[in-house]
């Protein structure tokens, strides 16, 4: 089995986010970047699959800030190949352009499964798996928490929903799977191993095609969240507090009686 895991870099949210004066993007010079958490889970699930059933794992990323670190880390954890798609990739790359670049590369790469993070801090609507499936003309399943091969060119996937509901689906391969969480917490790659991977220098660079395609949407302006008032502390004895709660619920129309 051949598993491709597209990964991406996102801003590290421990840093303060600042907007550019024109307001259409973050000031990326002030940011540090790290691997998208969900992609980390996609890598982990791919490696679990490899260990359980045998597979070749290929991680692929666009040439974004500090992507090398994430690609080498994936190699250190046990991925077989790392590919970097290079080109004119400055600034924020929206979902459509990202998917176009990935799909164009995947067109010439045989694969059985694409495991990709279901979302990212700058892609909370989780379009990547669906768009990628559509572009490649293969089935897609998202919000997946476990993938297992089920023979006959198919895979069993588990989904978890809110309210404790779960589903188990069978999907025909090749397919694109949006990973919500791996079956286990992403493993730790020791710095020694990451550095070994770096010394072996085995990132393949491929020119990205398709990323110059027109974006599906245009950012007109970004807004920093505004603090809107503070919590009101209810004081007094139990009776008074209870009265006040009732009053609040009535004035907000949450309580009819």
């Amino acid at each position: 089995m051949r598993i491709v895991v597209p990964i991406k870099q996102v801003p590290d949210l421990v840093e303060e986010l600042e907007l550019l004066p024109e307001g259409t993007d973050l000031d990326r010079d002030l940011l540090t970047f790290k691997l998208n958490e969900y992609d980390d889970h996609a890598v982990e699930e791919a490696l679990c699959l490899k260990e359980a059933a045998g597979a070749e794992v290929v991680v692929v990323g666009l040439d974004e800030p500090e992507i090398d670190q994430s690609l080498y880390t994936a190699l250190a954890k046990g991925a077989d190949r790392a590919v970097k798609l290079t080109g004119d990739l400055e600034g924020w790359i929206d979902t459509h352009r990202r998917v176009a670049a990935l799909a164009s590369w995947l067109a010439s790469e045989p694969f059985d499964l694409v495991l990709v993070g279901v979302q990212a801090v700058d892609d909370l609507d989780g379009q990547v798996p669906a768009l990628l499936g559509a572009r490649l003309g293969v089935p897609h399943v998202s919000v997946v928490t476990r993938v297992e091969p089920s023979g006959d060119g198919a895979a069993l996937v588990h989904q978890e929903y809110s309210g404790g509901l779960a589903a188990e689906l069978e999907v025909r391969l090749p397919a694109v799977v949006g990973v919500q969480a791996a079956r286990q917490a992403p493993r730790y790659a020791s710095i020694t191993r990451v550095r070994q991977a770096m010394q072996e220098g085995s990132i393949e660079e491929v020119a990205a095609t398709g990323a110059d395609e027109a974006a599906g949407l245009r950012v007109r302006r970004l807004f920093a969240p505004e603090a809107s008032g503070h919590a009101e502390m209810l004081e007094g004895n139990v009776g008074e507090v209870a009265e006040r709660i009732l009053e609040l619920l009535r004035t907000r129309g949450l309580l009819k009686a």
Binding site: E16, Y188, S190
Partner: protein, 736 residues
């Protein structure tokens, strides 16, 4: 007792001051003795050969250590390996055995020298009887001896004394062992195998060892007395003062000279039989420590724990037997189960599944299985084989032989290394085992989060590096940026003193204090990263190296004379480990600087008149022997110091070291080390618990709450006391 005493005592040469050696014994009996002796030597040599073969499977570092190749010049060295002469003296004087354990150590010293004396006596006798007499006969035609006259008398007088010392020492040790109810000699394991276990063979091994020694010693005196009585107590034998007294005692009991002769013939064989069997038994038993422990002590490197050795070449850490150094494999055999580490270990004390003693014994049993050596007794058994008892090759050693929980329980406080009377270095061993776990990504989630934060943000709090110097907000002055202007001291604040809300106030006070004293100091601001002491001790060597590289690069951008540290952990790695990576500046802890400023009057103070106790941080007091400066500070500000029983280099760990602060308590923990320590302090009747380490500040602030001492005990940093003692005008500024 000399081995070659005569069984039958006839026909003494007239007027000769000597005694018969095999005199009058039949040739058959002599032959039997020599055949047995030869067998003994063969069995001994075989056992020893097997052991040496095992050591040779390890990495060769022993000779390097003896040659001190591992020493790297440090501008402020702590503890260099002792010179060979000093190390030899430590062996001969039993110094490490007597340390903090006077009575037991002295008893051991008596036995050590008594036993050595008796061994010498046998060697001398053999040199005369087996060598000198035969050689002289071949050369001159007649047999010569030096075993007579004054030599004979002196020989007996001296070695009787040796025998007595040995008996006294041995009896004291045996009585103490039999009566001991403490944890030291309690063989219950800290980590419980699921199937249960038995260590009765350990106990049996101890008693066979000490018991057979006692039998050899007592029968030695017995045969001496019987022989002298049989010879009708010749006057010159008064030099054999103890044997003579025994002879007189037998006579007093009504034993006739003839009966003494008969009894001697039997007892002689008992004595010889036990002695030969004991010699043959040595390499298969606890007695082996007589041979291995001196080597361990000579080869031990007190610097090794302070400056951890790197992992074996081309290996992430210890996985198989061949990864251990020869010295470490030898150390395993040197352990006598004395239990000093077991008693002192904060992990064991708290109920965590780690005892340094058990770790060594488990590794020994495993190494014996792997290396093909055997002990006859001294084995642990389990109903269902597991871990070290499994027998079959079990690798990797970390996680298979030693459970992961056990390895993670270590705080690297170094109490075990400090106390071990045979020079075992437990901490480097544990770190090398942890390294192989880290390589496999096997660690608890909280630790993984901390390591990822350390590699991503350079601090364990996962905060932006730009927030590191935020604690300086609110200071009455701006702290110079050492990257932009020259300063005398580069202050390495460290993660806790920079990011922890509770400790930030202390950092501000120290900054104001130094400013008021006119000290030139600066920060690296966002370029400072965790120094990596605990990262290295967790076993993440690669990340440690990365942090060192980045910190050295950051320091290269700054102009300063000396590094000043808040955190003793930072202090340790910068002082002892950074020089190996090319760092060449002196490092000081703030307690050293404060002591100097107070004593020179640069910080004017008034006496506080408080009664306080002081907790020595492991990495300051034990690792780096900085125990006086904080006490000098307390004296300078007029505080009465009431010492806790465990003080200075015998301090008790707070439980945070070695990366433990990034992990959760083992479910087996009953009382945290920090709680144990607060109770120790509370028993003194003082209300102020002084610390000099940011991690201690947080650990003990928690512990006073969880032990219910919140009302009667306050945890303060030394800095806070100095600020309090300053002149009110200054104190006001500093209080900010």
């Amino acid at each position: 007792m000399p081995l070659g005493h005569a069984p039958m005592l006839l026909a003494l040469p007239a007027n000769r001051i000597t005694r018969p050696i095999f005199g009058g014994e039949t040739e058959t009996a002599k032959t039997v003795f020599y055949v047995l002796a030869l067998l003994t030597v063969l069995v001994f040599a075989y056992g020893w050969f097997r052991r040496v073969r095992k050591y040779e499977r390890g990495r060769r570092t022993v000779l390097q250590r003896l040659r001190r190749d591992e020493q790297v010049p440090s501008p402020s060295p702590v503890v260099a390996p002792p010179r060979l002469g000093v190390a030899l003296w430590r062996v001969l004087a039993n110094t490490p055995v007597r340390r903090r354990n006077r009575a037991v150590g002295t008893a051991h010293l008596l036995l050590f020298w008594g036993f050595t004396g008796l061994f010498l006596a046998t060697v001398i006798l053999s040199a005369d009887y087996d060598v000198y007499r035969n050689v002289s006969r071949w050369i001159t035609g007649s047999s010569h001896t030096f075993f007579d006259g004054t030599f004979y008398e002196a020989y007996n007088a001296v070695f009787n004394a040796a025998g007595l010392l040995a008996v006294v020492g041995l009896v004291v040790l045996m009585v103490r062992r039999a009566r001991s109810r403490g944890v030291r000699l309690d063989y219950r394991r800290a980590e419980q195998p699921t199937s249960g276990y038995s260590r009765v063979w350990f106990v049996l091994g101890d008693w066979v060892f000490s018991g057979s020694l006692l039998v050899i010693l007592l029968t030695g005196f017995g045969i001496q007395g019987l022989r002298i009585l049989h010879e009708h107590l010749p006057g010159f034998e008064r030099w054999t003062w103890l044997g003579y007294a025994v002879a007189e005692a037998f006579r007093g009991m009504g034993v006739s000279p003839a009966a003494a002769g008969g009894a001697h013939a039997i007892l002689w064989w008992v004595h010889v039989g036990f002695a030969l069997a004991f010699v043959a038994y040595v390499p298969y038993s606890k007695a082996m420590h007589m041979l291995t422990a001196p080597v361990s002590l000579l080869a031990t490197n007190p610097g090794a724990t302070r400056r951890l050795p790197p992992p074996p070449e081309g290996k992430p850490g210890y996985v198989t037997l061949a990864d251990f150094s020869s010295k470490e494999l030898l150390d395993l055999d040197s352990c006598t189960k004395c239990g000093r580490c077991h008693e002192a270990c904060p992990a064991r004390t708290s109920g965590a599944p780690l005892s340094p003693r058990d770790l060594i014994l488990d590794l020994r049993q495993w190494a014996d299985h792997q290396g093909g050596t055997v002990s006859l007794l001294d084995w642990e058994t389990r109903p269902e084989p597991s871990g070290p008892v499994a027998g079959a090759p079990s690798e990797p050693v970390a996680g298979t032989v030693v459970p992961e929980r056990t390895l993670w329980a270590c705080t690297t406080c170094m109490a075990c290394v400090e106390l071990c009377p045979v020079g075992i270095e437990h901490v480097p061993l544990i770190v090398n085992l942890r390294r192989s776990l880290v390589d496999q990504g096997r660690m608890e989630p909280t630790l993984q989060t901390a390591l990822q934060a350390l590699s991503q943000q350079g601090n364990s709090f996962g905060k932006s590096a730009r927030m590191r110097a935020r604690w300086t907000k609110g200071l009455s002055f701006e702290v110079p940026d050492a990257r932009k202007e020259p300063v005398e001291y580069l202050w390495w604040v460290g993660d806790f003193a920079s990011f922890d809300d509770r400790v930030q106030g202390v950092s501000r006070q120290l900054a104001e204090l130094l400013h008021a004293a006119g000290i030139s100091f600066g920060l690296l601001y966002e370029d400072e990263r965790n120094a990596g002491n605990d990262v290295r001790r967790v076993g993440e060597e690669g990340l440690f190296e990365l942090l060192v590289e980045r910190n050295l690069a950051a320091m290269a951008k700054a102009d300063f004379q000396t590094v000043l540290t808040t955190d003793p952990h930072t202090f340790n790695t910068m002082r002892n480990e950074y020089p190996q990576y090319g760092f060449d500046k002196p490092v000081r802890h703030y307690t050293q600087l404060l002591a100097e400023l107070l004593e020179s009057g640069r910080i004017p103070v008034r006496p506080l008149g408080r009664r306080v106790t002081y907790h020595d941080p492991c990495y300051l007091g034990r690792y780096n022997r900085i125990t006086d400066p904080p006490r000098r500070v307390l004296a300078a500000i007029g505080c009465e110091l009431v010492e806790m029983p465990r003080n200075r280099e015998a301090t008790f760990c707070c439980g945070a070291g070695g990366g433990r602060i990034w992990m959760v308590d083992d479910p087996q923990v009953q009382e945290r080390p920090s709680e144990n320590r607060i109770k120790e302090a509370a028993a003194l009747g003082v209300d102020t618990f002084v610390v000099a380490c940011p991690k201690d500040f947080t650990m003990y602030s928690d512990a006073v709450k969880t032990t219910g001492h919140e009302q009667d005990m306050t945890v303060v940093d030394l800095v806070q006391l100095v600020a309090e003692a300053m002149a009110p005008t200054l104190a006001e500024a500093v209080a900010g």
